[in-house]
Amino acid sequence: MSAQMPGWSDVEIWVVIAVLAVGTFLIRWSFLGIMGNRPLPVWAQRLLRYTAVAVLPALVAPLVAWPAAAGGRPEPARIAAAAVTVLVGLATRNTLAAIIGGAVTLVAALALI
């Protein structure tokens, strides 16, 4: 036991892991496991198609706008890094290229500013 996560006991962390593991398995198993060949309703397919592009940006937006590492104030280096990541990702359609682009921008901007 070295650095413990602040605000969380070991038991709480393991409960989160266990519930997340079971819940994720049930989501994956849902149709394969029980639905047989019944198709998913069109409206449900429509909503599910946008879960990733709705959840992940909503999670990231406040972290980009008010980064805790910069005292919760907008900070040019991190905003530039986020912008470059998105632009490289849009241009190349390649996740790895976008990560590298963003990381290089962040390190360079932090060194310069």
Binding site: S2, A3, Q4, M5, G7, W8, I13, W14, V15, V16, I17, V19, L20, A21, T24, I27, R28, W29, S30, F31, L32, G33, G36, N37, P39, L40, R46, L47, L48, R49, Y50, T51, A52, V53, A54, V55, L56, P57, A58, L59, A61, P62, L63, V64, A65, W66, P67, A69, R78, A82, V88, G89, L90, T95, L96, A98, I99, G102, L106, L110
Partner: protein, 262 residues
């Protein structure tokens, strides 16, 4: 067969259909190899982020082995670091995985008649990469047998999933050696943005992402994690709505085109 033997699609189809399960397994493995380029750095990063956030090695490995879903692992660790309540951590991380219900549904016509234990195993191994490979392969070769399909999936999984765990372990172990002044706080935002940008293929995807960002920023004053829980469904609904509108206007254009010709 009217297809000439030299035609590539026909030949590839015949090759795919002629494979034994062992050969289909190896084929899946080989085709999954390029994905290692993405999985390995991503898993390394998770190991580093989780251990710097204060998770011990067993907990970090628990995420990668038991949950086995990168984006939701990062989501959970990020929200736990932000001291969000456990229920919100779980709701958000599970919401990130909801797309996998769609994967499960779309594989059902191909794997629905496999034995229950095999479907359970496939469900555990169903990640973005294995799903993407499998559905492409199954659609291209609709006459594959179920054992061929299962073997291909498991071959792809062997390349994608155990390395995920191993590289997480390396990242978590090496994480302590990383200098404290590195801006690792921004690893998660960059990784997520890099995953999202290539997904923005249609107007509906762009609209969903844009609206969810605006809503998340507007609701940032709410307790940690709560804004996300409101912004995400608003974004999803926007995406579904825009898709419906685009489809409707396309149908109208097509109908008008038919009338003009008539």
């Amino acid at each position: 067969m009217s297809v000439p033997p030299s035609s590539l699609p026909g030949a590839a189809d015949a090759r795919a259909l002629g494979r034994s399960p062992a050969q289909a397994f190896r084929h899946g493995m080989v085709q999954a190899l390029p994905f290692l380029l993405v999985m390995v750095p991503f898993a390394l990063l998770f190991g580093v982020v989780a251990s710097t956030a204060g998770l011990d090695l067993a907990q970090t490995m628990g995420f990668s082995v038991l949950v086995l879903a990168g984006a939701s692992q990062f989501t959970a660790v990020q929200l736990m670091t932000d001291q969000a309540p456990a229920l919100l951590v779980l709701a958000s991380a599970l919401a990130v995985n909801l797309r996998m219900a769609m994967y499960s549904a779309s594989l059902t016509p191909y794997l629905g008649r496999a034995p229950a234990w095999q479907r359970g195993l496939i469900a555990y191994l169903l990640v973005d990469q294995t799903y993407g490979m499998a559905i492409q392969h199954y659609e291209k070769h609709p006459r594959l047998t179920i054992p061929q399909r299962i073997a291909y999936f498991l071959g792809a999984s062997l390349v994608c999933c155990p390395p995920w765990a191993v590289t997480t372990w390396i990242g978590a172990t090496a994480g302590n050696a990383i200098p404290a002044h590195w801006p690792l706080d921004f690893a998660v935002p960059i990784t997520f943005l890099a995953m999202i940008a290539p997904m923005l293929r249609t107007r509906a995807h762009v609209a969903a992402a844009t609206v969810s960002v605006i809503a998340a920023l507007a609701l940032a004053g709410l307790p940690s994690g709560l804004g996300l829980l409101i912004a995400a469904p608003v974004g999803m609904t926007t995406g579904a709505l825009v898709e419906t509108l685009v489809e409707r206007s396309r149908n109208r254009t097509a109908a008008a085109g038919r009338e003009n010709r008539a």
